[in-house]
Amino acid sequence: MAAAALLLSACAGNASSGTSTSGSGNATTASCGSTPINIAENAWTGYAANVAVVDYVLRTKLNCKTKISKVDEQVSWQGFPTGQIDVILENWGHEDLAKKYITDQKVAVDLGPTGNQGIIGWYVPQWMADQYPDILDYKNLNKYADMFKTSESGDKGQLLDGDPSYVTNDKALVKNLNLNYTVVTGGSEAALITALQTATDQKKPLLFYFYEPQYALATIKVARVALPPYTAGCDADPKTVACDYPPYTLNKIARAAFIDAGGPAVNFLKKFNWTNDDQNKVAADIAAGKSYDDAAKAWVEANPDKVAAWLAS
């Protein structure tokens, strides 16, 4: 009964992510086991690109079965102790969760970096950087504060913030850098990107918190505003922080028991590693409406060397 349930939901999972289990030929003989590998998919398109390629390679090159669960970040970690999730493919920090599930409960392990570098910072649309080149230094932001006023920010300039999934020190930064700005909570990635698109199309000024890798940047150009450079420990006290965000090394997290069992799939997941450009390419294809499999297939066929390196034992 339990196995039947898993199989059924595996079908459902694949159907909803637009993939099909009928993979192309060249499967290796190495056995992948009959239980599906449970991949967590968090809700941003960069992550979706990782899922698309990993899922495609697992099914077509290693003959594995997969089940994709679309869940939020912290909920996906809950799946390690229950065995519902085997691997998270793009993790941003989460020291608290890592402590709980890796260090304390020992149900999860760090599978190493994905090769993607996470960047967080303040940005303006490219047209603003062209028109006001000195805006890219935080010291000149006060000069332009009037331009950034909105109904939400009153008589100060607006700094649009607020993807709830990511860290932000922006309120403290504005205060400690003596900027005549107020942080306005956008509230979601959709809010940030929609505002960015409007600001680009309609040439409206916009200063906003953003991050890379990010598929939207494949079609919309932005420029990063330099804050005082990051040095180790400069963000230790969230009240006095006055420096830029550190770069993030994005990594993979897996269920301990799944890794201990070993096999070709585990070997591949450990080795999976690619660049921001690689990810943006696949993510942009998905955002443009391609199915996960089509987007993954295109990239895999264009990058046989990278894929071969992942699969080498």
Binding site: M1, A4, A5, L8, S9, A12, G13, A15, S16, S17, A43, W44, T45, A48, S69, K70, V71, D72, E73, Q74, V75, S76, W77, Q78, G79, P81, T82, Q84, I85, H94, D96, L97, K100, T150, S151, E152, G154, L160, G162, P164, S165, V184, T185, G186, G187, S188, A190, A191, L192, I193, T194, A195, Q197, T198, D201, Q202, Y215, I286, A287, G289
Partner: protein
């Protein structure tokens, strides 16, 4: 039910007291605005404690008896129910499902609705969302079945026992107002990632309407009818079965209707924890901001809602009807059976029809995207100007008063307001709710949210009264508006999030718009129902003395519809509160954003839960104040 002439009466003193209160409030604001501010997160004791509680749940999943004997079996049962349902839809295929759906509609609700159902099922295929639609259909069927099974008995009990009602109502308020995002990560700790958690979350949110309206229905049965049957020697049980239940059927159907709508509106939220179905399609579209694809999936949800609603109401209207002729019944059953046979045989006879033909799939994605692209460029300047105007004149002044005043003065003001329009109990409730916001360490966020909620609820009731009276008085207006209202209620907010953002930007006004879009349809429907059910003989009597339409509305219909108008006010406020979190996603900030943060990052789980509780506190306060303001005050003259 209050007597018709007593409806609009209010002691003149109340008006003056309110005016004085307003002046005092503004005076205190001018004197003390900005003094003794409280920061968010201060005090932090309760948030830390909640954080701790959340992080220990689920630790003993395999050993804790509560898990072993209660939660795990429930999880398994729900998963099996879901798997069985899906297996069934797959065995039947699209022809079988369509045939059975149409046959059921035909048998229980008649020809017209059978055609509607047929079109509905075909629409799922045409939109390219057959599998997702079936997954959602199975989930909704399970949730609504459980809601009705548990909800109607509870509603009947509440209708007959004042004490049980008093106990139940705050729980129902909490279930409806507590944002699902605040408890979803907790539900998954109990019921795992996947359909069982989705069903439980849906149940929590969709069961209150059927309980509430069953309760109101039982209580609405005229006491004359109850007493008459009592005097003929009927037992309580007989009175319930022969008088109260049949006479309250219409109200109860409104309850089931609202439950179906609520269940469908939870589908997208449940998708956040890997619950399959149309919600996944909506979320996938939102992720890449593909407005067309989101509307495509939203349309499938709307089609399903309308189909289920019409068939259920059609069926329940028939239950009471006396004896259909034997011949008619035979024809209907015969046709139904024939349909099912045809549906089952088609795949065997014509193999090419066994699976849905891709050539028949025509999603509305591209045209919607084109239209949206045009609107985004051309309408934005107008909407931007309107947003700024509305924010300057309505949101900023109110927010300024609420956020900058010392908390104890604001609490005192609300308590006095509650005392003027209600009773001492109302004032105490209001004060307790606001003190809770302080203790949770969320005072500033709470006031930001309260501002938006007050404005959204006021706009909701204005729309509710205007369109409710219109639809209540004119059957054709009702027929035209109803599909739009259904769509407004079940179209997942995630679908119109991006268009709203593109038109109004990430602002507090956008949050208000989203809340009104979701809450107004329910208010309109319930008020319309209240107006429409004013007994015809009362209306004829009014007309015979030569009343104008205006008099008819103001002196008869609105006062007579007062009980349902109060339900509309209650539901309006609750639905507005339910959208606080969505507001947090589009620039509303405040408690909504705190909940979203708690959902997204475990280290904010305590904050998220605390914010959820604060939202409930605000909702209960607003509800109690507005309910007592709306009720006819018991003056000496009214007491018989």
């Amino acid at each position: 039910m209050p007597s018709a002439d007593g409806g609009g009466r209010r002691r003149p003193a109340v008006k003056w007291q309110l005016l004085v209160l307003l002046l005092v409030w503004v005076g205190l604001y001018l004197a003390f605005g900005g003094r003794w501010p409280l920061e968010d997160g201060e005090p932090s004791g309760i948030q830390d404690w909640l954080q701790n509680v959340v992080s220990t749940i689920g630790d003993g999943r395999l050993t804790n008896p509560l898990f072993v004997y209660v939660f795990n079996p429930i999880t398994h049962a729900l998963q099996s129910a879901y798997d069985t349902g899906i297996w069934l839809t797959q065995q039947l295929g699209w022809t079988g499902m369509t045939a059975i759906g149409t046959a059921i509609a035909l048998v229980v609700a008649g020809w017209r609705l059978a055609v509607l159902t047929l079109i509905g099922f075909l629409a799922f295929g045409v939109l390219g969302l057959w599998d997702e639609s079936m997954e959602t259909l199975v989930l909704v069927a399970i949730s609504v079945f459980l809601s009705v099974l548990i909800g109607i008995p509870l509603g009947v009990w509440a209708g007959m026992s004042d004490r049980f009602e008093r106990f139940l109502l705050p729980i129902l308020d909490t279930m409806q107002i507590l944002p699902s995002l605040a408890y979803l990560p907790i539900i998954t700790l109990f019921f795992l990632i996947g359909p069982p958690s989705g069903i439980v979350a849906t149940l929590v949110y969709s069961i209150p309407p059927v309980i509430r309206l069953t309760d109101v229905g039982i209580r609405g049965v005229a006491s004359e009818s109850v007493e008459a049957s009592r005097s003929l020697g009927a037992t309580t049980r007989q009175v319930l079965r022969d008088v109260q239940l049949p006479m309250s059927r219409r109200t109860r159907i409104v309850g089931v209707n609202q439950t179906v709508m609520a269940a469908l509106s939870m589908i997208t939220v449940a998708a956040l924890v890997a619950t399959p179905g149309l919600g996944q399609a909506v979320l996938a579209a939102l992720q890449v901001r593909n407005v067309g694809a989101a509307f495509n999936a939203g349309l499938a949800i709307v089609v399903m809602a309308i189909m289920l609603d019409r068939v259920i109401s059609g069926a329940s209207r028939r239950v009471g009807r006396v004896a259909v002729s034997r011949r008619e019944r035979l024809t209907v059953w015969g046709t139904g059976a024939a349909l099912v046979v045809v549906g089952a045989v088609i795949p065997a006879v014509v193999p090419s029809l066994a699976t849905w033909n891709e050539a028949w799939t025509h999603p509305i994605t591209a045209p919607v995207n084109d239209a949206f692209g045009w609107v985004r460029i051309n309408v934005y300047p107008i909407t931007l100007a309107f947003t700024e105007w509305f924010t300057t004149w309505f949101i900023n002044p109110l927010e300024s008063v609420l956020t900058s005043m010392p908390f104890f003065i604001t609490i005192a003001m609300f308590a006095v307001l509650a005392l003027i329009v209600g009773y001492l109990r109302t004032a105490i409730t209001a004060a307790v709710c606001l003190i809770a916001c302080v203790l949770l360490g969320l005072w500033p966020s709470s006031m930001v949210t309260l501002t938006q909620v007050i404005i959204a609820a006021a706009l909701t009731m204005v729309l509710g009264m205007i369109f409710g009276v219109w639809t209540g008085r004119s059957p054709w207006a009702d027929r035209i508006l109803r599909p739009t209202l259904d769509a407004g209620q079940v179209l997942p907010p995630f679908v119109y999030l991006v268009p709203c953002l593109a038109l109004f930007g990430p602002t507090r006004f956008t949050a208000i718009i989203a809340a009104v879009a979701y809450a107004a349809p329910a208010a309109i429907k319930i008020i319309g129902e209240g107006i429409a059910t004013v007994p015809t003989n009362t209306m004829e009597a009014t007309r015979s003395v030569g009343s104008t339409s205006r008099q008819e509305i103001l002196k008869v219909q609105i006062p007579m519809a007062r009980p349902l108008i109060l339900v509309a006010l209650n539901q309006g406020i609750i639905f507005v509160m339910a959208m606080v979190v969505i507001g947090g996603l589009v620039g509303g900030g405040g408690l909504g954003y705190d909940v979203v943060s708690g959902f997204s990052q475990e280290r904010f789980a305590g904050l998220g839960l605390a914010a959820g509780i604060a939202i409930v506190a605000l909702g209960i306060m607003l509800d109690r104040i507005s309910q007592s303001a709306g009720k006819v005050r018991r003056t000496a003259a009214d007491v018989r």
